[in-house]
């Protein structure tokens, strides 16, 4: 039998966990036997639908639900007034702001949640929406982040005591302003660019939704909801609803993609929970595609002003002044101690003399969000900025963009390296990495092809980018969301038959954790991955942890799985040695 000790070390030819595997989870998906949220039907279940604001900014003068309530099949119409009596009219965001669950005083973005209908089927629930009479007084709206701080801009968050403008937070700074000014004063070349990174949407193919099932007799709240961080969600629901965490169970089922969009808690979820309490039945609410795009977590939306300089042919300084558009409520998802996520890797892979970075966040009449869409937190924005600036500087200096990078990289002997924004990079060999990438891409051939084409009057561009990404959000000293830190657990049980179950807090949305984490256990224990079942997506049956986003599952949860496997293996060896009356180190 293969054991850890007699397995050769992992290489490209021998990946971990007994070699290449086809995915375990495929078996159900290729048969149409996945278990997504909408596939779940509970006895007595009723359906919810949300009335949304047609205005970006308007005062709500009145809401009359009588016509909707008169529609046969409608069980309840919930408004902000009803939620106030339950203490659920506002909810906390993961960025220490508050967000209206249902709008009471004003609507602050187009598509904002205004009322929640509960009916016997989803068609009737939607029929009832236009029967709710809402009287609005439209207000001027601001949707351009650069105009949000104008003196005459309409005040969006008049619900917040002391808020007199649309600033969502104090200006965040990193680096050394004076040192950066000095670098620019001494520079040979300076380039300046305004870079707008527009808002985009992760748009998972399965939209967001929830089934909430509150049992008034036991006080137990069962939640079915495809989200990327079930344990963290449970903690927030416990705080919002005033229930103990162990009285709440979240089961995710299979999730049809997330990409950051299924990290936040949305008003529809709280409505479904409140609806189940009000209706005394399980409530299913699933948004449609338009609702997903207009109201749930977006990504990017940074307006950035940047300057970069060089001296003696090398990059020396960077200054950035950025505006983050957070929409009407600040629910940006970012766990670092620097409030603009990993934006402090904006000095890239370069050994700079100095840098200074400022980011301020503003409220606008747009949907809230700011999630890590297919990257770590604000990494994409930072990388786009610095690499765009390096290329602009190279163009201005008249040097090859790779040559400028090569001259300016942090050298291998400088690691561990503290960047000018105060972030430590542990290791790297950037110049060599760049050379390998150039070989793979055939950079010299591309340059020749470009020259030939230009000779013929054809245009050809070659894009170059080099980045250092921070992934695996983990250590408490750098990362935190709502005081929960960024830990993840793993629980491994080996049964007498030699089969094992590993429970993890990471939450797949299609990444294939059932295969990957089985391979890690297989590698550490020496049992085949087929014999390892990965359990996840159920807060009652998995250890606490912060979930999956920002490329953190394998670095954080994977490490926990490896550590717990080693502990089990060492314990097993000790017990076996006692039984066999030999020394543990003599056992393979």
């Amino acid at each position: 039998m293969a054991t850890v000790e007699n397995l050769p070390s992992t290489t490209q030819e021998r990946p971990i966990g007994f070699g290449r595997l086809k995915r375990k989870e495929d078996a159900r998906f290729i048969r149409g036997k996945g278990n997504y949220l909408d596939d779940i039907r509970l006895p007595g279940m009723v359906h919810g639908a949300i009335l949304r604001s047609p205005f970006a900014h308007a005062r709500i003068l009145s809401i009359d639900t009588s016509r909707a309530l008169a529609l046969p099949g409608v069980a309840a119409v919930v408004t902000a007034k009803d939620l106030e009596t339950l203490g659920l009219a506002w909810m906390p965001t993961i960025s220490y702001d508050t967000q209206a669950v249902l709008a009471g005083d004003k609507v602050r973005f187009q598509g904002q949640e205004v009322a929640f209908v509960i009916a016997t089927d989803e068609y009737i629930a939607r029929d009832a929406l236009p029967l709710i009479d809402v009287e609005y007084e439209p207000l001027p709206a601001v949707v351009n982040a650069r105009k949000a701080l104008d003196p005459d801009a309409p005040l969006i968050r008049d619900d917040k005591t002391g808020q007199t403008d649309n600033l969502a937070s104090a200006t965040w700074e990193a680096g050394d302003e004076e040192a950066a000014d000095r670098a620019f004063a001494e520079a040979d070349t300076v380039v300046t660019r305004d870079i707008i990174y527009p808002r985009c949407h992760p748009a998972p193919l399965e939209t967001c939704g929830m089934i909430a099932d509150f049992n008034p007799q036991t006080g137990q709240l069962n939640i079915y909801n495809g989200n990327q961080a079930p344990h963290a969600h449970r903690t927030v629901y416990a705080q919002v609803a005033g229930l103990a965490e162990h009285m709440i169970r979240i089961q995710t089922g299979d999730i049809g993609g997330g990409f950051g969009n299924k990290v936040p808690i949305y008003p529809g979820y709280v409505c479904a929970i409140a609806g189940s309490i009000v209706a005394g039945a399980p409530v299913k609410w699933i948004e449609d595609r338009s609702e997903n795009l207009m109201s749930t977590g977006f990504a990017r939306d940074y307006v950035m002003h940047a300057e970069m300089c060089s001296k003696d042919g090398k990059i020396t300084g960077l200054r950035v002044d950025a505006i983050a558009d957070h929409g009407a409520f600040d629910s940006t998802a970012q766990p670092t101690k620097f409030p603009a996520g990993f934006f402090h890797i904006v000095c890239g892979s370069y050994d700079l003399q100095a840098s200074h970075v400022k980011v301020k966040a503003v409220y606008t009449n747009k949907a809230p969000g700011g999630v890590a869409y297919r990257c770590s937190f604000r990494i994409t924005e930072a990388v786009y900025l610095v690499e765009r600036m390096v290329s602009a500087l190279a163009l201005e200096m008249g040097v090859d963009p790779i040559e400028l990078r090569m001259r300016s990289f942090i050298a291998p002997e400088q690691f561990p390296y503290e960047t000018t924004t105060g972030w430590t990079y542990d290791s790297g060999n950037y110049a060599e990495t760049m050379r390998v990438a150039m070989d793979i891409a055939g950079y010299d051939d591309l340059l020749r092809e470009q020259a030939e084409k230009r000779e013929r009057g054809e245009l050809m561009g070659i894009g170059v980018s080099f980045f250092t990404e921070g992934v695996g959000a983990g250590p408490r000293k750098h990362m935190d969301i709502l005081g929960l830190a960024m830990n993840d657990g793993a629980d491994l049980r080996v049964h007498p038959s030699g089969k094992a179950v590993v429970s993890i807090s990471a939450q797949t949305q299609g990444q294939g954790h059932e295969t990957t984490f089985a391979q890690i256990v297989a590698e550490e224990l020496g049992i085949p991955p087929e014999d390892v079942q990965v359990r996840h997506g159920d807060t009652d049956r998995s250890p606490y942890g912060l979930g999956t986003y920002g490329s953190r599952s394998t670095p954080v949860s994977g490490a926990a799985v490896a550590v717990v496997s080693r502990k089990v293996r060492d314990r097993a060896r000790l017990i076996a040695a006692t039984m066999l009356e030999t020394r543990p180190e003599d056992l393979a």
């Binding site: 086809k22 995915r23 989870e25 495929d26 078996a27 159900r28 998906f29 290729i30 048969r31 149409g32 036997k33 996945g34 997504y36 909408d38 596939d39 068609y123 992760p202 748009a203 998972p204 193919l205 399965e206 939209t207 299979d254 999730i255 049809g256 993609g257 990409f259 449609d288 595609r289 949305q509 299609g510 990444q511 294939g512």
Partner: protein, 159 residues
């Protein structure tokens, strides 16, 4: 309205509202939840089923329009415990991640192979142009269809 639709070889009858969508009929009445509802607007292709052998988007087809027609869903692909080559191909080439688009992709490409057993990569890309994979596995999906084309007469395997 009473409607009778042949779904995967079985006659399914039910009294429905004229506005009921085929996707809801398929999911609710015979309880076949492999057909997914993704966009409600014919954009994403998660709901594709075959109507008389041709791919249609069941989120914008009314159930009553299918009276007397034959509908095939993803659940019909496996026969007597043996996978269809297109299912096998998706598994072999890692052509799925979250699995939400997969049933629609499978039915769309099953129809393609029925009509054109040896498609080019370009023909495959045209055939799946009405289906979105947000996990972005198009390259592997094309490879999966090619795998199935090469193994049409091949053995069906257990997964």
């Amino acid at each position: 309205m009473q409607v009778t639709i042949n779904i995967n070889g079985e006659q399914v009858s039910r009294d429905v509202e004229p506005r009921q969508l085929l996707v809801h009929f398929i999911r609710d009445t015979p309880g076949l939840t492999g057909t997914h509802w993704g966009c409600d607007t014919s954009n994403c292709g998660a709901c594709v089923v075959l109507m008389d052998g041709r791919p249609v988007k069941s989120c914008t087809t009314l159930a009553v329009m299918c009276e007397g027609h034959e509908i095939r869903t993803v659940e019909s692909l496996e026969v007597d415990g043996r996978l269809d080559p297109i299912q096998q191909g998706f598994h072999e080439t890692h052509a799925l991640q979250c699995g939400f688009c997969t049933p629609g992709m499978l039915m769309t490409t099953r129809a393609l192979l029925d009509e054109n057993p040896n498609p080019t990569d370009e023909e495959i890309r045209v055939a799946i142009s009405g289906s979105i994979c947000r996990c972005t596995g198009y390259k592997n999906i094309v490879a999966a269809v090619q795998w199935a084309a090469e193994h049409q007469a091949g053995t069906r395997q257990e997964v």
